[in-house]
Structures are given as C-alpha cells and as structure tokens.
C-alpha cells in the first residue's frame, strides 16, 4: 500500500485529493504547509510526495529542494497551475520527478503516482542483459537498482534511475524525447519534453559528467539523447 504525503494549502483540495487517493488504496498523510510537510517526510516515511507549488509560508520550490536534501531518491510529483512555466522548470531543476496541472482528476494524479513508483520498483523489460553492467567508472546494477561511480554509490531519484536504465539498455541508440517521455514517465507522446531535459541535466550532474563534454549521456541535436558505453 503506497504511502502518499500530500502538501496542499487549500482545505477543500487537500480533503478531496486525500479522499480520492485513500479510496484507491493509498495511505495518505495530508498537510497544509511546507514546514509540516518536511516534518512528515521524516515521521511518515512516504513513498511519494505530492507537492503544491503555491504554498503560503515556505514556498513549494524550497520544500522541493529540502525534500531532495533529506532524501535523494524520494519521488516528488508537483501540482501546478497551467502556465506556471517558470515554476515547472525550476521545480524540475530542484529535483521533482513529474508534475500535474491543476485542476486534476484523481485518476490522472493516481496514474502519475503509480508510474513514478514503478520507476523505483522495476527496471524496463529486458531479456538476456547482464544484471550488472560496467561502463568505465560507471556501474549499473539492473537487478539491485543501484548505480555507482568509481565504487561510490550514486543516489538517484526514480526518474533519473529509470532514464539511465532505459538509455544504457541500448548503448549507441538515439532516443527521442518523446520516446523517453513514454518509456520513463509513461506520459503521452505529446508530453512536456522539458521533463526529459531537466532529468538529463540532473542525472549528468549526479554522475559527475563534465558539462561541456558529457561522457555517457550525449545529446544528439535535433533528435534526442543516446548513451555511449565508453
């Protein structure tokens, strides 16, 4: 039973969303402020955080950053208004895994939560690929879902991990942003490609890729991304 921490300041929205999620079998903790949310991250130990970006007091973006500082791997889904483009970009840079646009139907939000949780629990379908792959300094454990660089574990958020697993499963193959949106985020083909770009940036930073000349994750201009084994 997934544990969802809902941080939403509006009482009606909070109660409505919490009700809908509980009925779908989630265990929900709902709080009204960012401060309470951060406290509940420690005490409630959620599997996923649903975070409204428009919060009184501690802004949603700061909450997002602090949650990331507490836990590198905890999935975060932002709830934003259509058009709050700046917030979406900053939120993704701050480490959010996905976002939904309000008003959102419960089944859409739930689908996103499930998709984000799937990223943690299972690697993409693969056959005959060794469980542990090594690409120079980089080690990817496909069964244990862990990544290490030069022996040091690299904690990855679920979308970062799934992105790396997807790309590295077929080294040399170019993936379009739309393909990655469908494979990693389970979004539609016409989803927001900025999710991919932001996630690639975060992944490169965590892997310690040199900004000018990334070693593993290369951009193919006009097409998308590909993974190089060396």
């Amino acid at each position: 039973m997934p544990r969802v921490l809902l941080i939403e300041d509006d009482r009606a929205v909070r109660e409505g969303v919490a009700l809908a999620l509980r009925r779908r079998g989630h265990e929900v903790a709902a709080v009204a402020t960012g401060e309470d949310g951060l406290e509940r991250v420690r005490s409630f130990r959620p599997d996923v955080v649903v975070l409204d970006l428009m919060l009184p007091g501690l802004p949603g973006l700061d909450v997002c950053r602090r949650v990331r500082a507490l836990d590198q791997t905890l999935p975060i889904v932002m709830a934003t208004a259509r058009g709050d483009d700046e917030d979406i970009v900053v939120g993704l840079e701050a480490g959010a895994d996905d976002y939904v646009v309000k008003p959102v139907q419960a089944r859409v939000l739930e689908a996103r939560i499930r998709a984000v949780l799937r990223r943690v629990s299972g690697a993409p379908a693969e056959g005959g690929i060794p469980r542990i792959d090594t690409y120079g300094e980089l080690t990817v454990d496909r069964a244990g879902l862990s990544v290490a660089r030069a022996g040091e574990p690299v904690p990855l958020a679920p979308s970062e991990l799934r992105l790396l697993l997807t790309l590295s499963a077929s080294p040399g193959q170019v993936f379009s942003r739309q393909q990655l949106l469908e494979a990693v985020w389970e979004h539609s083909y016409h989803g927001d490609a900025r999710l991919v770009d932001a996630c690639v940036r975060r992944l490169r930073a965590k892997l310690g890729e040199p900004p000018r000349e990334p070693r593993w994750i290369r951009t193919v201009r006009g097409f998308g991304y590909r993974f190089t084994a060396r």
């Binding site: 989803g191 927001d192 193919v220």
Partner: protein, 494 residues
C-alpha cells in the same frame, strides 16, 4: 483609389513651377507689350512732329523762290529741293498746282497718297498726315498747302500749291525690333528666376508636407506617439499643430481602449484563476461520485452524474480560458523540439481512438521532421479533427505534406477535411473567434467554444497560418501551414 495617370504633372512642385513660369511669362509679355505700345506711340509722335516740322520749315524756306503760278519744271525743282532737306534721301516729295504735279523722283507714282488725304489737304489748308501700310512696310504721308506769307486781311490765302511727302518708317521698325529683343532678353532671366523661386517655394511648402506625410504613415503603422515639430506660424504650422492634437487624441483613446481591453482580459484571467482552486477540489472527487453513483437511488444518481460531468466540462473550460489568457498576456512560449510530424499526428489520433474514424494520408516516418511544440501541435490537430468529427460528417480526412517551394523553406501543410454540409459563408470569417456559435440551436457542444480560437493562437505562435474554407466537392476544409526552419546539422553532438 484611382491612380493619377500623370503623377509627374500632379505633383505640387511641378504645379508650382508651372504656375510661377506662367505668371512670369504673362508678366513679361504684358509689360513688354504695354511698354512697346507706349514707346511706339511716343516714337511715332516724335518722328511725325520732327518730319512735319522739317517739311514746314523747308517749304517755308523754298516757297518764296517759287515763281507764281509755277510751271512743271519749277514744281519739279521745288519738289527735289524739298526732298533734299533729308540728307539720307529717304524723302519723296510730290508738289501739285492745279492739274500740274511733279515728284522729286522722276516717274514716282506716289501710290501711298490716298484721295482722301489729297481732298483733306485741299479743303483744310492745314497740315495733314497719314500712316500708310504698303506691302510689308509702313510709310508716313504728310500733306500741306503752300500759303502766302503776306495774307490779305480776311485771312490766310491759299496759293493752290500743295506739297506731299512720303517717308518710309524704317527707324520705327528698327526701334520695335530692338524692343522685342529687349523683352526677349529680359524674359529669359525673369523666367529662370521664376523657376528658381518656384522651386524654393515648393521646397518651403513641400518640406512640412513631406514631414506630415511621413508622420501620417507612421501613425498608420501604429506609432501613435508620432508628433511633428511645429515651426513658424503659417497655415502649414497650423496643420502640423492640428495633426499633433489629433494624434494625441487618437493615442489617448487607443490607450483607453487598450486599457479597457486589458482590464477585461485580466478579469477573465483572474476569474479563471479563482475558479481553479474550487475546481481542483471538485475534480479530485468526480471519480468518487462516478463510482458511487450506481449505488444511489436513481434521482440522486442522475444528479451526482450531472455534477460529475459538468465539473469535468467546467474544468476544461477554465483550462482553455487560462490558456487563451496566456496568449492575450503574451506569455505563451512554445517549447520547441524537433520531431517527426507524421508520427505526432498519428499519435494524436491514437491517443483519442480516432485512428479508425479518420482517413489519414501521412508521409512515411522521417520524411517530414520539424521543430515544433509537440503539445501545441497535438492541441491544434486534436481540435481540428475533433471539430470535423463533431460538426462535419464522416469520412473525415487528415493529410500532411510538405507544401514548401522546392529548394526553399519547407512548409508543413496539415489539411483536415470533412464531408458535411460545410460552413455557411457568413460564418467562415468568424470560425476562429472565441465562443462564436454558428448555429443558435447548437448552443452547447462538447467543446468549450474556445477550441478553434486556441488552435489559431497556437498556429500563430509557430509563425504559421490556419484557414477555414469549403471544398468545391462539399464539406469543410481547415488548412494549417507551419513554416519549418531549415535543418541545423542534425547529427552534431555536444
């Protein structure tokens, strides 16, 4: 507006030059003519007086030596002597006495002498003169009677001898020629000066006129803050001043209108924004309502389902309103990504389970790629196809092809056709307007009433165009044209 056939002649400058030249020419000609007439009269008077004076004194000097009554020889000698008074020999003299007559030049028929003059001299005893034109030159004919010096007490005593003189008026002709030449010579600089003055005046008038024209054009282009520098206090300065006042008034009313429009749009944006939070709460629980409706009594179930359905529609409407507000506010930005356009269109149909309902004619994978905002392209295609499925009749067609000129910029053309009754001609210009309802009976549809407006805005955001038309074979066709910038080295890595 009709174009002038001879724009050159209609120009202010040309007209001014023509007018000035005309005035100068008329002035020169009339001044010359008047001067000439006065001068000629004067010259003639003077030469007449001189000739008559000279003749009279000559006759007065020679007449006493003439025998009385004179014979023909004496008369001839007398005439020759009188004629000799003019050294150049231009004088021709006729002396008569009764039936006798003699001329200074032998055989001279004295054709210039008219019978009237002759009669006048005989009857009046006075000196009579007449100007006679013979052929192409004129001559002065003077006639006088010779009288006795010692007259009887009753008065002057006519001797019966008459003297006639003919002088060709060549000096006068020369004088006239000289005058004409002088007028001609004066006219050339006068005309030149007139042209120069005209150009100068034209410049003085045209400069403000040009400034006015530039300013008017600038206003027409939307630069409502255009003002003219007012110089001097003539009519053109007045005009410039009026122009400035008009422009200021125009600017102010446009600013007011824009302010009103901006307030109206902000109001719409604010309303949608405020509606979003309650809608977020309601949207979250519509699924709960749907799931539990089956277990309620029928009336409540119907009410609950209504609330659920309408909440979903309201959420979509608010979403569309927010979207259009962002276009109005100019904050809509495309998130461009280079994608396969045919793939995008295919996915749009797939995602809505329209693939079987729509005849699609799409290029093969990889044939038409372009930098677009995938989400917005999806909105455009979904709105047009959805519109065709709802309002037109099936089969609905979707076609994508490169409509750019060979070698030029590529142009993705998306055509959505239906086989319905088409769009009434009076509705066509309005189909992309917000909430435009073509049919009063169709007051509410599945759409928000903003779909086509959002479509148009999204296409415009991509620098493209969208048109609605009716096909000759029946049904409506919506055509989207998206310019696709040239590829930029697609394989370059970084």
């Amino acid at each position: 507006m009709r174009r002038p056939r001879l724009p050159q002649l209609r120009g202010l400058r040309t007209r001014l030059v023509l007018a000035f030249t005309l005035v100068a020419a008329v002035t020169a000609a009339s001044t010359g003519a008047l001067t000439f007439r006065e001068a000629r009269t004067g010259v003639l008077q003077q030469s007449q007086d001189a000739v008559i004076q000279q003749l009279r004194s000559q006759v007065g000097r020679l007449a006493p030596d003439l025998g009385y009554p004179p014979d023909r020889d004496e008369l001839r000698r007398f005439a020759a002597d009188v004629a000799r008074a003019e050294p150049s020999g231009s004088w021709r003299v006729l002396a008569t006495y009764g039936r006798l007559s003699a001329t200074s030049v032998p055989g001279d028929r004295f054709a210039e002498l008219s019978p009237a003059l002759r009669a006048s001299v005989r009857s009046h005893l006075a000196t009579v003169f007449q100007r006679v034109a013979v052929g192409d030159h004129t001559a002065l004919v003077v006639g006088m009677s010779v009288t006795f010096a010692e007259a009887p007490a009753e008065g002057v005593y006519a001797s019966g001898i008459q003297v006639f003189l003919t002088v060709p008026q060549t000096t006068e002709r020369a004088y006239v020629d000289a005058l004409v030449t002088a007028v001609e010579r004066a006219a050339v600089p006068a005309l030149t000066l007139a042209v120069l003055l005209a150009l100068l005046a034209a410049r003085g008038v045209l400069r403000p006129v040009r400034a006015l024209r530039r300013a008017t054009r600038s206003i027409a282009e939307g630069h409502l803050d255009t003002r003219l520098a007012v110089e001097g206090s003539d009519e053109l300065a007045d005009l410039s001043h009026t122009f400035n006042e008009t422009a200021a008034a125009l600017e102010q009313s446009v600013a007011e209108l824009r302010g009103m429009e901006a307030r109206a749009r902000r109001f719409a944006a604010d309303v949608s924004h405020e509606l979003r939070t309650p809608l977020a709460a309601m949207s979250a629980v519509t699924d709960v309502l749907d799931e539990d409706a089956a277990g309620l009594d029928p009336d409540t179930a119907t009410a609950v389902r209504l609330i659920s359905e309408e909440t979903v529609k309201l959420a979509r409407l608010v979403d569309d309103l927010m979207e259009i507000s962002r276009f109005d506010a100019g904050v809509a930005v495309p998130h461009l990504d280079e994608i396969d356009l045919a793939e995008s269109l295919r996915r749009t149909l797939d995602a809505r389970a329209w693939t079987g309902l729509v005849d699609h004619d799409l290029p093969p994978p990889g044939a038409l790629r372009g930098r677009v905002d995938p989400r917005r392209l999806d909105v455009v295609v979904a709105n047009l196809v959805g519109n065709a499925l709802r309002h037109g009749a099936r089969p609905v067609g979707l076609r994508l092809y490169d409509g750019g000129a060979p070698g030029g910029t590529r142009l993705a053309v998306i055509e959505v056709t239906d086989t319905g009754p088409g769009i009434p001609e009076d509705v066509l210009p309005h189909v992309f307007e917000r909430f435009y309802k073509s049919d009063a009976a169709r007051t509410r549809t599945e759409g928000s009433g903003l779909g086509l407006a959002i479509t148009a805005e999204n296409v415009r955001l991509h620098g493209g165009t969208v048109q609605a038309a009716n096909r000759p074979e029946g049904g409506a066709v919506f055509t989207v044209r998206l310019p696709l910038p040239a590829d930029e080295s697609p394989r370059e890595e970084r």
